[in-house]
């Protein structure tokens, strides 16, 4: 009898403890940083900055932040920063799970542009427009579209980025010279000025024995040539988008591309020399044995980080590349940094965000360390704009990217873009492969978008 009572009490105790452990995260954690384990500052001489002390936990999807954290610790020996790198595909799920449970850590959280609207709406990112942060005062320091991308639907700043990722078309100057007798970026930009012109250029390039792109996926980097997908809550399928579809279908069906998809071994190999046509996802060691026609790829449409990929794989073609602009200015990716609204070390976290994204010295350091990453700080981009890039035929690529970054119209980006883009891509693929006519594919595209976003007005 006694034993049973003891057992029952023990079980009840274990259960009570486990329930208490589950409920631990339900406690209020929204109190301002100042109230709890906050940053300690030691006042030194009045003109010297206060010494920072404390611990920060960063959850990031970019390895870059490890370098920033190391630099921050080097500058502030009293600070310990723990950086956890999470794969981009897992990041939203992990962050959502942690912050829905109001976890006190991480202190610093990040997001790529397409993730930000949902993160902002969920209230994960601290409002940096409010005091004591007052992030709006730094607006003019960084590239406009970066500032815009970090604001929520009410215009409050919630994240900032140390980098800008404007895009370009990296093309082979030697091939342009052979085909048109002109390799100038301005001339080549004209050859890519709109989707119809791209299709015509692709024919010229093929007739000369080359292929314009590795695959038709290159076009996807210019999705907003025809304005935003959603305007005034209406889905807009503009003429430019229809031209985009026609160009993608023509490039595919007339075999105007090399059929070496982005990130395939053949795609990397094409930057330094000829590759077999239709190599698709063949392994690098199989490329030689594939046989069939060989070709060289003329151009690669990619964000600024792509210029580094081309540089690192150009081999003997280094120096033969140039950068031209496409049908519209675009950007791709980029890591935006903010403070978790549940962090208890917000003051120190803000110091880190400022150090990473708003500090000129850091931006200069990152430009050197990353060997070519485009920072978001205008003054630093201005200071390097006359640097000549050896890989790109001594073109002033920083000047090019600064100009492109300033031309990006962030109002064209909507929270619906990723999913609508997926279904638009599926519609194009159905027409490319002959599974559907253009009309059928568009009709289904409307149906699909209406299914996933019934709140949008769709006029067929």
């Amino acid at each position: 009898m006694k034993l049973r009572k003891v057992t029952a009490l023990l079980l009840a105790g274990i259960m009570a403890l486990s329930l208490a452990a589950c409920g631990k995260t339900d406690g209020k954690t929204d109190e301002p940083a100042a109230s709890k384990e906050e940053v300690k500052t030691e006042d030194t001489a009045s003109d010297e900055p206060a010494k920072l002390e404390g611990k920060l936990v960063i959850w990031t999807l970019a390895e870059d932040l490890k370098a920033f954290a190391d630099k921050f610790m080097e500058k502030n020996p009293g600070v310990e920063v723990e950086t956890v790198v999470i794969a981009p595909a897992d990041y939203p799920t992990k962050l959502t799970a942690a912050l829905r449970g109001k976890a006190k850590e991480p202190d610093i959280i990040v997001g790529e542009p397409q993730m930000l609207p949902d993160f902002f709406e969920a209230g994960f990112f601290e409002d940096l427009s409010q005091e004591p942060y007052g992030a709006e005062q730094y607006k003019d320091l960084i590239v406009d579209y970066i500032y815009e991308a970090g604001r929520d639907s009410e215009g409050k700043v919630r994240a900032l980025s140390y980098q800008a990722t404007p895009g370009g078309i990296y093309y082979r100057r030697d091939i342009a010279q052979k085909i048109w007798g002109n390799e100038d970026p301005a001339f080549v930009s004209e050859k890519f000025k709109d989707y119809n012109t791209i299709a015509a250029t692709a024919v010229e390039v093929k007739n000369a024995g080359y292929r314009i792109f590795g695959d038709t996926g290159n076009l996807r980097w210019f999705p907003n040539g025809g304005g935003a997908w959603v305007q005034d809550n209406k889905l807009v399928l503009s003429q430019d988008r229809l031209d985009y579809m026609d160009a993608a279908v023509k490039l595919y069906q007339d075999k105007l591309v090399a059929f070496s998809p982005e990130w395939s071994a053949a795609w990397y190999a094409s930057m330094s020399g000829p590759i077999p046509v239709n190599a698709e996802w063949a392994a690098a060691e199989d490329l030689e044995g594939l046989g069939g026609d060989k070709t060289e790829v003329f151009a690669y449409a990619l964000p600024s980080w792509g210029s580094l990929i081309v540089r690192d794989n150009a081999g003997d073609n280094a120096g033969s590349f140039g950068v031209a602009s496409g049908p519209c200015s675009f950007f791709g990716g980029g890591t935006f940094v903010g403070i978790s609204s549940h962090s208890e070390r917000k003051e120190l976290a803000w110091e880190f965000v400022k150090f990473t994204t708003l500090d000129e010295e850091t931006a200069k350091w990152w430009t050197d360390v990353s060997k070519g990453d485009i920072v978001s700080m205008k003054s630093v981009l201005e200071s390097v704009k006359d640097v000549e890039n050896e890989t790109y035929g001594k073109q002033k690529t920083y000047a090019y990217f600064l100009n492109e970054a300033q031309n990006i119209d962030y109002s064209l980006i909507t929270r619906y873009d990723t999913q609508i883009g997926n279904y638009w891509g599926a519609a194009i693929e159905a027409v490319q492969k002959g599974d559907k006519t253009k009309e059928q594919a568009i009709d289904e595209f409307y149906t699909n978008v209406q299914s996933i976003y019934p709140e949008l007005e769709i006029t067929k």
Binding site: R4, T7, A8, L11, M15, T93, T96, R100, D118, E121, A122, G123, N278, E280, W281, A282, D286, Q419, N422, Y423, A426, E429, A430, K433, D435, K436, E444, T447, N448, Q450, S451, I452, Y453, P454
Partner: protein, 305 residues
């Protein structure tokens, strides 16, 4: 003075209480991880909820939307197409093997080894199966196309996973390959449960193999068959992993591999509409319950007559 009867009653009562204590851990886990999510999902199905923030009650709007949602019905049709091919191949193969292995005339040896071998595909993680078949069925470098080209059956490789019809067929066959061993074990167990007297009597009466199968094996296998059919229907309508892993996540090619559960998953986690996804889950549950009921009725139709 103690009355023996009372003592007995008390003792029995105490034993029962101890029993409750033993099942308590399971009941608690069951309540937290099974019952609570079921009830919570039902509640969320009547709300607008993005997965964060507070759910807002909207009545039966989500259910009205499911009924009118073209993509859901298309996904369900895709699921049914894949399942119907899958079940025919899976059960057909399992039946064939059951007939062979249970036939007294053949006296097959090593049933246990074969049973284990047939069951093996079921032990491989779906992710591995998906990657394995994606490699086998690749239009350019896939083993299947290499064999067909070498045998001069085709000149150019077939894009198995790039065309809607063949992609659905491929997923159905993969499912059948994974699950026929499971069905085979069930059917064999059913056959072994039938008294040998029936088969011997039939043999003495001169009944042929098909007569024995149609008049003895099949009718007596009905309960097992019903179990296999219903579990297969439930599993089939919930198909998710292979199509999800073998495609781009939205049912490539041309939406043909977008199954009902894949649509549910995307609605909840990619389109951020947990409320609507919950109503799809319940809608699917109702459809599966009705389909299982119909299946039960069909199989026991004659008996009731």
């Amino acid at each position: 003075m103690r009355i023996p009867g009372n003592l007995g009653t008390r003792r029995r009562k105490n034993v029962n209480n101890t029993g409750y204590l033993f099942v308590l851990p399971f009941v608690i886990i069951f309540l937290i991880f099974s019952i609570y999510p079921v009830i919570r999902t039902l509640y969320l199905s009547f709300t607008q909820y993005k997965g964060y923030g507070e759910p807002v009650l909207i009545g039966i709007d989500n259910y009205k939307r499911v009924i009118k949602d073209a993509m859901f019905w298309r996904a369900l049709l895709n699921t049914l197409k894949i399942w119907s091919v899958n079940i025919v191949v899976q059960l057909g193969l399992a039946f064939l093997l059951t007939i062979i292995f249970s036939d007294l005339k053949y006296r097959m040896k090593g049933v246990g080894i074969f049973r284990a071998l047939f069951y093996l595909p079921n032990l491989i993680a779906p992710a591995s199966v998906a990657f394995l078949f994606a490699a086998l069925l690749d239009w350019q470098f896939g083993t299947l196309n290499q064999i067909l080209i070498d045998a001069k059956v085709v000149k150019v490789g077939i894009d198995w996973l790039g065309q809607p019809g063949t992609a659905q067929l491929a997923v159905a066959i993969i499912g059948a390959w994974m699950w026929f061993g499971n069905s085979f074990i069930m059917l064999m167990a059913g056959v072994q449960g039938i008294s040998k007297d029936y088969f011997e009597a039939a043999a003495i009466d001169g009944a042929g193999r098909w007569k024995v199968f149609g008049s003895i094996t099949l009718p007596l296998l009905k309960p097992i068959l019903l179990y296999v059919a219903i579990t297969s229907l439930i599993g089939g309508l919930q198909i998710f992993d292979i199509p999800f892993l073998i495609t781009d996540g939205i049912g490539k090619p041309n939406g043909s591999l977008n199954t009902a559960v894949m649509y549910l998953y995307n609605t909840a986690f990619n389109y951020n509409n947990v409320g609507y996804a919950s109503s799809i889950a319940y809608f699917l549950f109702i459809i599966i319950a009705i389909a299982s009921g119909i299946e039960y009725k069909i199989m026991y139709h004659k008996k009731e007559d």
